[in-house]
């Protein structure tokens, strides 16, 4: 009996450790790794080079519009600013930092993983792991449930619907 309780405690401990590790790994996977690549091409940057960075930034004045497709005049000027910075040899990360300094973190496609913003990455993972835990508990309680008094009608209805396929499966196995 004692051994059984110990084994249960051990399983629960293992489950909690696993969930904590999964939470950390999950949050790290959601966070986007910043790119620190420097621009390699000298001279006037192409539209594609400008858009590659503008795509990762959001229009500071419009709602939820990436900078590379925003049709406002202000955004056209910001794209030209990116071109200028690229021609001066700035890297992707430097340009993004510059925009964050100027207009705040809202210009980034996802919040930087720091301070309060950590919550955006942690909460979904914790929520999902809580779901896993609840599912585990539900399985446990449903498996140990003593109430096996499934009404005859429902069993009958299942047989009605599944009997056909069950018989087919049996025939296929015998083949």
């Amino acid at each position: 009996m004692k051994r059984q309780t110990q084994a249960k405690d051990h399983t629960r401990q293992m489950l909690i450790y696993t969930l904590v590790i999964l939470a950390v790994v999950g949050a790290l996977l959601i966070i986007q790794t910043p790119a620190y690549a420097q621009s390699e091409s000298p001279g006037t940057p192409t539209d594609d080079e400008v858009n590659a960075i503008a795509k990762q930034l959001y229009c500071p004045v419009c709602e939820n519009i990436p900078l590379d497709v925003c049709p406002t005049q202000a955004c056209a000027e910001w794209r030209e600013l990116i071109r200028l910075k690229l021609s001066e040899g700035w890297g992707d990360a430097q340009i993004k930092e510059y925009f964050v300094e100027q207009y705040g973190a809202r210009v980034l496609a996802s919040p930087p993983a720091s301070g309060f913003n950590w919550l955006v990455y942690i909460i979904p993972v914790v929520g999902i792991l809580a779901g896993v835990f609840l599912l585990y508990k539900a399985f446990q309680s449903l498996r140990s449930s003593e109430t096996i008094d499934e009404p005859e009608g429902e069993i009958q209805s299942e047989e009605d619907e599944d009997d056909y396929i069950a018989r087919l499966e049996e025939e296929l196995r015998q083949r």
């Binding site: 049709p71 056209a76 973190a105 919040p111 955006v120 979904p124 929520g127 399985f139 449903l142 087919l168």
Partner: protein, 685 residues
């Protein structure tokens, strides 16, 4: 006069709704059937009243009654008639009237059903439906009234009010501001009605669930009654989402169909819980389990429907401050809070009556896999919900606005979607009640083998991206399992009953439409997944400014700038239309006509792509509107979207599957008749 008629009908519908709620509760508590019947008739009456109001508003829109503020804000003289009519849902106030009208349509349909066996549900279904309807009518009458007029005060100042301020006279503008150009698209004409139909239809299963809780009749009767309602709601919501995606692809000019925008997510969230519900109710029907969970899911779906409408209507997405200033936002917030708390309280108070009757016997049984499927749907919901509200929380807590965009959602949901695909392949092979690795393996090895062969072909074709390889293996696996299920069933019928294979297949599907409709839906999802993986993993783009005769290249295509015309149209647009010639590997593929429309009334540009579309790929050419356009040269942005058409094809299959699943089943009668036939009777014995 006609305006007063429309407004009066709305007010009357609101009062009738309140009366219906009172009569239903009174009749039920005092056990007076006449009062309940009166409440039912009241619910029936709301439909003609709101129809009258909606028709009045349509007449005002079509005939340019610019003394109405709403009409002046969404129509103009130059708009064609069909756009004037669809402007009913082109603005806030009109769309709330439309929402109410659709809800009254569904509640009317409910009142007309046969209530013989479920009479005890009726009063509470009326109360829940009319409470929701009365809330929306209240918003329309007191907050967002589309019949509000413009008045000129003696001082010359213009004011908006329903009734004339002292000394004021009606002010009529010569022309309106016109509909937002982005909404002048066939997709946008159909998309909102579909979405709204999906939203309002989910009110019905919710109303039955609450009725079941109140009356303590918590067996699966309410689920069986609402099975088709739920499927219809889900069908419309799915259609709304797909049409929204198509509209974005055709009109928004960024080469994609889904941008993880909060407005898109607002419509996606009830779809997620609705889909989980559709799977989970099967466990209750088959095994008498998960009754609590099904209640939670339908309550969540209803709350998310209202929450989605709140998100898009309250201004909360642009800023928490604009939410606080809007009159509609706090009312919505209070309504969601009240209905959610009442629903949960009811659920908790009936907790004991919802105990499972069955037992989970195997972790590999179909019910266990369905539960896992529910967990994945809930996981995606958590990601979406949190991603949408986090910017608001951040702004409230730190004063700093942040953007939660596609990278967050894509990274967080991709593994969950992959898990759902895997389950879509495994669950149909698992049996109810009991499955083991052995039985599952025996059923799965053939489809697995074929799907692995497909993966080898994918690898040989040069694809090396892990996401694409895993995704295409999963897609192949689900297709193999689903087709295998059809084949096994049809072949067995063919052998037993001597039916030809097509007849056997047809009869097999007719034998249990929900099951085989579900399989067709799975096939649709897989086709959509093929398109989504194609565009998400392999999309490429380039941009360049071309002089006439110059070309730009992308993925083997050469796009040559031929000419550009700029002209005005009769409907108030300035159109810049380019002609580009497309070649691939030296072969002429014809011309495309990307254009930019500038709407003078609203001073808004709109970019219409030129698209060459095949099942292999789309070449999507944009005349970039933010660069100077001249006849001598122009800037083009070109997207290469591999396999994107599989997404739309999959959507069609998906919708067809839902129609098959929702089609009335003659299963019971047929199965009994079939069982009486000698060969089946013998087989059963």
């Amino acid at each position: 006069m006609i305006i007063d008629l429309g407004y009066g009908a709305l007010v009357l519908a609101f009062l009738v709704s309140l009366y219906g709620i009172f009569a239903a509760i009174y009749g039920e508590l005092k056990k007076r059937a006449a009062w309940v019947e009166s409440a039912r008739l009241a619910m029936l009456l709301t439909f003609p009243l709101i129809t009258l109001s909606a028709v009045t508003l349509i007449i005002a829109l079509a005939n340019g009654y610019y003394e109405l503020e709403y009409v002046a804000s969404v129509t103009s003289n130059s708009m064609p008639l069909y756009l004037k009519v669809t402007a009913l849902w082109g603005g806030q106030a009109g769309s709330l009237v439309f929402w109410s009208w659709l809800l009254s349509l569904f509640t009317t349909a409910v009142t007309l059903r046969k209530w013989d066996r479920d009479r005890e549900f009726l009063p509470w279904v009326i109360v829940v439906s009319l409470f929701t309807l009365a809330f929306f009518l209240m918003l329309v009458i007191f907050v967002e009234n589309p019949f509000t007029r413009l008045w000129q005060l003696p001082s010359g100042q213009i004011e908006t009010a329903m009734f004339a301020p002292t000394g004021a006279r009606v002010f009529t503008q010569p022309d309106g501001r016109g509909l937002n150009p982005l909404l002048r698209h066939p997709g946008m004409i159909i998309h909102p009605p579909m979405l709204y139909l999906g939203f309002v239809a989910f009110v019905i299963p919710y109303a039955f669930a609450i009725a079941a809780l109140i009356t303590k009749r918590t067996d699966d009767r309410w689920i069986r009654i609402t099975r088709r309602w739920t499927l219809i709601a889900w069908l419309f919501l799915s259609l709304g989402l797909v049409l929204g995606g198509r509209w974005a692809y055709d009109v928004l000019g960024w080469g994609g169909y889904w941008g993880w925008d909060p407005v898109e997510i607002a419509a996606f969230m009830p779809w997620l819980t609705g889909t989980a519900f559709l799977h989970s109710v099967m466990i209750q029907e088959k095994r008498g389990m998960m009754k609590h969970w099904n209640m939670v899911l339908i309550i969540l779906t209803y709350s998310l429907v209202i929450f989605g409408t709140f998100l898009t209507r309250s201004g909360v997405l642009s800023s928490v401050h604009s939410f606080a200033q809007s009159a509609i936002g706090p009312l919505f917030f209070a309504f969601i809070g009240i209905t959610f708390v009442i629903s949960l309280s009811l659920l908790i108070s009936r907790w004991d009556t919802l105990k499972s009757k069955g037992r989970m016997t195997s972790l590999l049984s179909r019910e266990a896999l369905f539960l896992l499927n529910n967990l994945l749907f809930m996981g995606i919901l958590i990601v979406c919900f949190w991603g949408v509200i986090f910017p608001l929380i951040s702004e409230l807590a730190t004063g700093q606005k942040v953007t939660v965009g596609p990278p967050f959602y894509e990274r967080a949901t991709s593994p969950l979607f992959a898990g759902l695909l895997l389950l879509m392949g495994v669950a149909p092979l698992a049996a109810w009640r009991h499955s083991t690795f052995k039985t599952l393996g025996r059923a799965a090895w053939k489809p697995t083998l074929v799907s692995l062969l497909v993966t080898v072909v994918v690898l040989i074709s040069g694809i090396r991206q892990p996401a694409a390889i895993i995704g295409y293996w999963l897609a192949a696996f689900v297709v193999c399992v689903t087709l295998y299920e059809f084949w096994r069933g049809a072949m067995a019928r063919h052998r037993r009953a001597g039916e030809s294979f097509p007849v056997a297949l047809w009869k097999l599907a007719g034998r249990n439409r929900r099951r085989y409709g579900g399989y067709i839906i799975h096939l649709g999802v897989v086709l959509m997944a093929i398109g989504i993986i194609g565009i998400e993993v392999f999309q490429s783009e380039t941009q360049g400014t071309l002089a006439q005769g110059e070309k730009i290249s992308l993925q083997g295509y050469d796009i040559t700038f031929t000419s550009l015309n700029v002209f005005d149209t009769n409907d108030g647009r300035n159109v810049a239309r380019a002609v580009v010639n497309i070649e691939k590997d030296g072969r002429d593929l014809g011309e495309l006509y990307p254009r930019r429309d500038y709407f003078y009334e609203s001073q808004q540009p709109m970019t219409i792509p030129g698209v060459r579309s095949t099942m292999e790929d789309d070449l999507y050419v944009l005349l970039v509107d933010w660069q100077p356009v001249s006849t001598a040269g122009a800037t083009f942005k070109v997207y290469h979207n591999p396999l994107v058409n599989w997404l739309w094809l999959g959507a069609i299959v998906f919708i067809l599957g839902t129609l098959v699943a929702a089609w009335p089943d003659k299963d019971k009668d047929t199965s009994r008749a079939l069982a009486k036939q000698p060969q089946y009777a013998a087989a059963k014995a």
